[in-house]
């Protein structure tokens, strides 16, 4: 058990391990496994998410090898059967969205950063926070277990459309699909608890003096994402319960023969599923908005515009979901409405991109590793955003629907979010998390070794999609018009690029663990940054701050002409200015 004071008096009352002589030494279990400390919980989320990312990446390797060399025995996996192929693509998507993007971007960074950036010593509900991670871990175990039950893991795609997902005689994975639904539902419960914590902490636990517009953008973004998540997840949980009942107790909610409606699931799923895109996107943009001002030594251009566009994105994100149903039998008049809203939502997002570019203008740019990731986020995400406009228009979507064009499009949005955004955040806050700097050279090798192959994977897939290649097909050998040597060469090219990209991740893993002990000591504030997490020691002890900070200004006061130093931390009062 954790120290009783921690449990009862958090977030404002508990002791700091580094400074309090009366503080009991915690055992390994209470410090790292059953901790209520937001930083440890953040790390737990991060390491679990990274472990799941390795599994998700391995799945991608296995099914890409099957597509490039159909029928071949894949090294490390063996022969990929059609059922296995379905299960691999389904769980690749499920893992990467629900067990990598969400836990790392929102839960890990949210837990680690929110109390530090707000200048408080923990979340307002520390025990709820611990429970949130424990349920998340349970959900991951349930999902992993679903791969090894009889008939294997669920193979009905991460969107789980019925009737394929609802009936065992179609999916052929009676246990796998039920465990899949249960795992996803548990995961949502975990994030519900996390979201309640994040929002309440931001409302009630800010450092004295920190007004609404003094909150760093990344905290805003994670909190907005939590609000979006909590408003959108209800209908999907409703749908998941109905799907579970269809699978297990024989109801017919999604069975047309019994008065049900399979398209209903699509609406319930995407009412959550589309805001979900912005749930993971906003924290990634928030991370970029923190990094760019520091390495351009310039105030974030139009702080409030970023927030208002984020609000607008959040509101609009609830009115775009039906663009996933353009060919599922939607009324064409309705399709027109959703075309308009979908194209509209690119306006606030484009504005955010312009804000980041405008921040760079006239700045003193240092191309450090976090900055490289942040800049590549903009470049890659714009490709994803612009290809999305073609899919948002119902006319062109009729052709593109369910082709590799769609697949490449959303990988150009999710890869910047879940991989580039995570690497940007991780390389940026690594010194704060572990007290040491990552190796820059290895970081740059890893950066280029990830970004170049990433484009080499997905640009060919855009071309294949334009040529009409459909998704979720195990082997194209039986489709003469899709089995031409030119198309097969593109598939091989994409697969080889994927293998290269996966191998370059080893550089990061090495750098991560090597720097834990061998990296240069970071000190409190290695980047001369303004936000409050850089006031705390690196790594921050239990309780975060030796002396609780008071805030005097916004987070992005860089290179002010009236000051000698080019930064002005939020907690330094005006009279101590060195000008």
């Amino acid at each position: 058990m954790a120290h009783p004071i921690t449990e009862q008096q958090a977030p404002h009352g508990h002791a700091d391990a580094h400074h309090d002589d009366h503080h009991h030494e915690q055992s390994f279990w209470s410090k790292y496994v059953f901790s209520v400390d937001h930083k440890i919980i953040g790390m737990q989320y991060m390491f679990t998410g990274m472990f799941m990312a390795i599994i998700g990446g391995f799945f991608a390797y296995a099914f890409r090898m099957q597509l490039a060399f159909p029928g071949m025995s894949v090294p490390g996996w063996g022969h990929v059967s059609p059922a296995e192929y379905n299960s691999l693509v389904t769980n690749h998507g499920t893992i990467m969205i629900f067990w990598v993007a969400m836990p790392v971007l929102i839960a890990a960074f949210g837990n680690f950063l929110i109390p530090l950036m707000l200048g408080c010593d923990d979340m307002v509900f520390p025990r709820l926070n611990r429970l949130s991670y424990q349920i998340f871990l349970l959900s991951a175990i349930v999902l992993l277990a679903s791969f090894v039950v009889e008939n294997g893991g669920f193979g009905g795609a991460w969107t789980a459309y019925p009737p394929l997902s609802a009936k065992a005689e179609y999916s052929l994975t009676p246990l796998g699909s039920t465990l899949w639904v249960i795992a996803v539902a548990l995961e949502f419960v975990a994030f519900l608890m996390g979201g309640i914590n994040f929002i309440t902490t931001m409302m009630n636990s800010r450092a004295p003096g920190m007004k609404m517009w003094d909150i760093p953008v990344v905290v805003w973004m994670i909190v907005l994402a939590s609000i979006l998540f909590m408003l959108s997840v209800g209908p999907l949980i409703a749908g998941a319960i109905m799907l579970l009942f269809d699978q297990t107790i024989g109801t017919g909610f999604f069975d047309p023969a019994r008065g049900g409606d399979p398209v209903l699931w699509q609406h319930l799923f995407w009412f959550f599923g589309h805001p979900e895109v912005y749930v993971v996107l906003l924290p990634a943009i928030g991370i970029v908005c923190e990094i760019v001002p520091i390495f351009a030594r310039k105030k974030l251009f139009a702080y409030k515009t970023v927030l208002f566009t984020a609000f607008a994105t959040g509101v609009l994100s609830f009115f775009v979901w039906a663009h996933h149903q353009f060919i599922a039998g939607i009324d064409p008049r309705m399709a027109n409405v959703f075309t308009v809203t979908t194209v509209m939502i690119s306006v606030p997002l484009a504005e955010m991109m312009f804000v980041i570019v405008a921040t760079l203008y006239g700045g003193q740019i240092t191309l450090s590793v976090p900055m490289l990731w942040a800049l590549s986020f903009i470049g890659e995400f714009i490709i994803g955003g612009i290809t999305g406009i073609f899919l948002g228009a119902s006319g062109s979507d009729i052709y593109f629907h369910d082709t590799y064009f769609v697949l490449a499009h959303f990988h150009y949005t999710f890869f910047p979010i879940a991989i580039i955004g995570v690497y940007a955040g991780l390389t940026h806050w690594y010194p704060k998390m572990f007290g040491r700097m990552l190796n820059e050279t290895l970081g740059k090798i890893h950066f280029w070794g990830t970004i170049i192959p990433f484009n080499m994977i997905f640009i060919p897939l855009f071309l294949l999609g334009l040529a009409g290649q459909h998704r979720r097909i195990w082997s194209y050998v039986n489709f003469p018009e899709l089995a031409s040597p030119e198309m097969q060469n593109l598939r091989v090219f994409a697969t080889v690029s994927l293998v290269i990209m996966l191998l370059f991740q080893l550089v990061f893993i090495f750098n991560f663990f090597w720097s834990l002990t061998r990296g240069k000591k970071a000190g409190r504030n290695p980047y001369n940054a303004n936000t409050l997490e850089w006031v705390a020691p690196s790594p921050p002890g239990h309780g975060n701050f030796a002396e609780m900070p008071t805030v005097y200004r916004g987070p992005y006061e860089y290179s002010r002409p009236d000051r000698d130093e080019d930064f002005w931390p939020q907690n330094v009062p005006a009279e101590s200015s060195s000008s």
Binding site: N197, G234, V572
Partner: protein
């Protein structure tokens, strides 16, 4: 450069470690109330999902709603039960108002709220038994499936809330119930009470 810590200030409120100034944070509302409100927000969307799915099934049903071979839902009896639940909500609101002035006088209205809530759940259980006897089950039709799903989900929330209220009633008898905990439980009970008339209107009619 290393940053120096700032210790400002007129009012030196100090936490147990002697750190500045921990307690000066302004709270929008008690943590428990905000947390419960956020949870309720997600729950309202859950029921919105159920209700929309129900509306889709109802409006597209080919053989009428309810289907001809299925029993009618007990609209009149449930009206009485709805009134009981609304009274329970009112009693709890009254109990909270009294509690803020005189803790002991809140005991009776709190108990009334609790008992009326229990009556609501028990009455529904009896209703379910008679419907099951008449042939309405989760697998008999989509109508039956939606009825048990939506009403059952609400009943689960009611039972959970009643357990919390029962525990709090014990605290109240011991004069140990804190205003924050009471306020949080009250928010959740208002959600259970407030959700019901919507479900009654949408599912029973």
């Amino acid at each position: 450069m290393q940053l120096s810590y700032v210790s400002d200030g007129p009012d030196k409120v100090v936490d147990i470690r002697g750190r500045m100034p921990a307690a000066r944070r302004r709270q929008v509302a008690p943590n428990g109330v905000i947390g419960t409100l956020l949870f309720v927000m997600a729950e309202v969307m859950l029921f919105a999902g159920f209700i929309s799915a129900h509306a889709v099934a109802k409006t597209t049903a080919l053989s009428g709603w309810p289907p001809p071979n299925q029993p009618r839902l007990p609209v009149e009896e449930t009206a009485v039960n709805t009134a009981a639940l609304l009274l329970s909500g009112a009693a709890l609101a009254y109990a909270y108002r009294v509690y803020l002035r005189d803790v002991r006088r809140a005991r009776v209205p709190f108990l009334i709220a609790l008992l009326l809530g229990c009556f609501f759940v028990a009455f529904q259980g009896v209703e379910w038994l008679s419907l099951l006897r008449e042939g309405l089950t989760v697998t008999s039709s989509t109508h039956g499936a939606f009825f048990y799903l939506i009403v059952g989900c609400h009943a689960l929330h009611a039972v959970a809330a009643l357990i919390v209220l029962a525990l709090q009633y014990r605290q109240l008898l011991l004069d140990r119930l804190s205003p924050g905990a009471f306020a949080g439980a009250q928010v959740f009970w208002f959600f259970v009470v407030g959700m019901w008339p919507v479900l009654y209107w949408k599912v029973y009619f």
